[in-house]
């Protein structure tokens, strides 16, 4: 019941290698099936995101023995030479594999510390493998634990609460001012990449209306079509600014496109309803003096970048708390694993003792002429009773006492002590 992990991520492999070794959903399913059919793994799960490809499994034999076969499989499956792949792959076993997955799920192993998407990706990978029947009791327990860790880290720490990109910071600011964005409207000036990131995030937050204004009508129409918005002709400020709550600007222009006077007029027309201006243009698109207007909140790219820098520090300070949650759950999982293994060990020991008892009696009773079959049966019964008492009590204690399971660190040692290796349960 050991666990093995073989994989690569943004720290160990270049983008090119990561791209070659990534799995689509269909490929992940096929790989899981093949790994089990070939007998490399008994339980298996493939986790593939843009930054990592990892195969988790329960091998039929020792996890260390199975790892080379797993590496070869990955090389063969993706048609990547073993020497290219070899330097990028990492191998983790048992406790380290469990800790690694829990850290991944918590967002501690992500390129962007504390990112939220990974938890959904772990959930999807588990769902897919579970539906396929590729997971068993060990991986089910392991991944349920990983999902719990991810959830706890997100609710009990601030690792994932602060925005870490200018776009996300802008959207969070909008929520600071307006609350939920479901009844709000946004105007996007320009159709650049940064502006598009904000639009995408605003849409994710359910913004109700989206207006797009760009010098090139075609590009505005493309962006509007992509995100379900509406195109407003360039320069129609009074119409566009009347009903919006958030304005995102990322226009390539040497001079500000939005002057204070335009916004002053717009604010008067809107009855001074609050307006958040996100100026993502370099040079700036909105005249800085517009920020002095009543109920106008003006943020330029530098302001948003400063917020991101503050948040990065805040996230890093949360790492120890997140690590503590990870360690707590690693301990829980290992305790569960030990309980299952120990109970199995006791059962195997019981079978062996019965066999030994039978052989022992056969040998000794044969030399005792005065003993009759009835007495032999009685003797067998008494010895069984004694052996059961000696074995059942520890088995029951192991089931019930978590602390005892924790103390027994090395089940392998017990197994080696009382059973032959070939008799492993």
């Amino acid at each position: 019941m050991e666990i093995v992990l073989v994989g690569l991520n943004h720290r160990t492999a270049s983008v090119e290698v990561r791209e070659r070794v990534s799995f689509t959903v269909e490929q992940a399913r096929r790989a899981a099936e093949e790994l089990r059919t070939r007998g490399i793994l008994e339980e298996t799960l493939v986790l593939s995101t843009c930054n990592r490809s990892e195969v988790y499994g329960v091998p039929p034999e020792s996890s260390h023995e199975c790892a080379p076969g797993l590496s070869s499989f990955l090389s063969e499956f993706h048609s990547v030479r073993a020497d290219v792949l070899g330097s990028s792959l990492y191998h983790r076993y048992d406790r380290d594999a469990v800790r690694h997955l829990f850290r991944v799920s918590a967002g501690l192993d992500s390129q962007l510390l504390g990112e939220a998407e990974i938890l959904g990706q772990v959930r999807e990978a588990y769902k897919s493998a579970h539906e396929l029947g590729a997971t068993g009791p060990v991986l089910n327990r392991l991944f349920q634990g990983a999902l719990e860790v991810g959830k706890r880290v997100r609710t009990e720490t601030e690792l994932g609460t602060r925005p870490m990109s200018a776009a996300a910071a802008g959207v969070k600011l909008a929520e600071r001012i307006f609350g939920k964005l479901k009844e709000r409207s946004a105007l996007v000036l320009g159709a650049g990449a940064t502006g598009e990131q904000v639009v995408s995030q605003l849409r994710d937050r359910g913004i109700k209306h989206l207006l797009v204004m760009n010098r090139s009508h075609e590009r505005a129409a493309d962006l509007a079509n992509q995100y379900g918005g509406q195109v407003v002709p360039w320069g129609e400020w009074d119409t566009a600014l009347q009903g919006v709550d958030v304005l995102v600007s990322s226009v390539a222009s040497d001079e500000p496109v939005l002057r204070r006077e335009i916004l002053e007029r717009a604010m008067a027309a809107r009855g001074n309803r609050a307006l958040l201006l996100m100026d993502l243009g370099v040079p700036r698109n909105i005249e800085p003096a517009a920020g002095e207007l009543y109920n106008v909140y003006l943020y330029n790219l530098e302001n948003l970048t400063d917020i991101v820098a503050q948040n990065r520090g805040a996230r890093e300070s949360e790492v120890p708390r997140a690590e503590a949650i990870v360690e707590e759950h690693v301990g829980k999982f290992l305790s569960w694993q030990a309980s299952v293994e120990l109970v199995g060990l006791v059962e195997a020991l019981r079978v062996r003792v019965r066999e030994e008892r039978a052989a022992f009696l056969r040998e000794r009773v044969a030399s005792m002429h005065s003993i009759n079959p009835g007495e032999v049966a009685q003797l067998e019964h008494l010895i069984d009773e004694l052996l059961e008492k000696l074995l059942i009590e520890p088995a029951e204690r192991l089931r019930g006492e978590k602390e005892l399971r924790r103390k027994i660190q090395n089940v392998e040692a017990l197994r080696d002590l009382f059973l032959d290796r070939r008799e492993k349960p």
């Binding site: 600071r176 307006f178 001074n272 920020g291 009543y294 109920n295």
Partner: protein, 270 residues
């Protein structure tokens, strides 16, 4: 008040303040829930303290400065708890609890009443005073919410986000909570004042006699109506309305203290 209720109330309020502050700084949901539960426990203990005092006096427990301040603190907490549950927002608790604690503890230090109590009996008088103090408490809560709004507004406009701005309620919600609180205050003061006139009529056989308190109460009513209107519909929405709200509360404090002590003929502590 028995020492038991004093200790229980103070402890519950202090712990609630600690839990709300922890929620504000760490964002831990469990700390917020603890804050709410401890506030509810504190309000229950505070209520028992008021009840005990009422039984001892054989009348409503607020014809002196102690009772009036204590009831004010209790109603402030109750109004806040109602708004917290209605708006599902716990981030303001850390700002409201200090006010409650100050009123509750100051009430313990208030001098004993040397004047004869008014003929303060009967349900109409009880409603008149309770609703008036509820109105003051609601206005006080609205004042706190406006302060938080202005503080956050300043931080947002100067781009100094810090750590806890992310935990405060959105500006728009603060405005709505403040308006809800003012609405409670307006309804309470309107009904409470009407009941006061009825009670005066029963006591003296006439609805009206001149008391500066009436003028100030009318002014408070008008000022809050103005705030309620401006905050919702005109160019005053946002910081300006919040500043007006803070000014209004200044008038309430004036009515509660200077007017009561030095000018009113029939009101002393409410």
């Amino acid at each position: 008040m028995s020492h038991l209720y004093l200790i229980l109330t103070t402890a519950a309020y202090l712990l609630s303040l600690g839990a709300y502050a922890a929620f504000l700084s760490s964002g831990k949901e469990i700390a917020g829930r603890a804050g709410t539960l401890l506030l509810a426990a504190g309000l229950a203990a505070h209520y028992l303290a008021l009840l005990e005092r009422s039984r001892g006096l054989h009348t409503v427990p607020y014809h002196d400065l102690y009772g009036s301040m204590s009831l004010f603190g209790w109603l402030l907490g109750l109004t806040y708890l109602g708004l917290e549950i209605y708006h599902r927002q716990r981030s303001v608790g850390a700002y409201v609890l200090p006010f409650m604690l100050v009123f509750f503890l100051a009430a313990q230090a208030a001098p004993p009443d040397k004047l004869a109590p008014p003929p303060a009996h009967g349900p109409i008088f009880a409603f008149h005073v309770t609703l008036s103090i509820l109105a003051y408490a609601a206005f006080a809560l609205s004042f706190v919410l406006s302060l938080v709004f202005l503080m956050q507004e300043r931080l947002l406009r100067t781009h100094r986000m810090g750590n806890f701005v992310w935990r405060l309620p959105p500006q728009e919600l603060l405005e709505r909570m403040s308006q809800s609180s003012v609405l409670i205050g307006l309804l309470s003061i309107a009904v409470g004042t009407a009941m006061g006139f009825v009670w005066v009529d029963r006591l003296q056989g006439q609805y009206w006699y001149y008391d500066p308190k009436y003028i100030v109460t009318l002014l408070v009513l008008l000022l809050y109506l103005l705030y309620f209107q401006l905050a919702r519909t005109t160019a005053w929405r946002g910081a300006r309305a919040s500043k007006l709200n803070i000014f209004n509360f200044g008038v309430v404090v004036l009515s509660f203290t200077v007017v009561n002590f030095y000018f009113s003929h029939s009101h002393r502590y409410f």
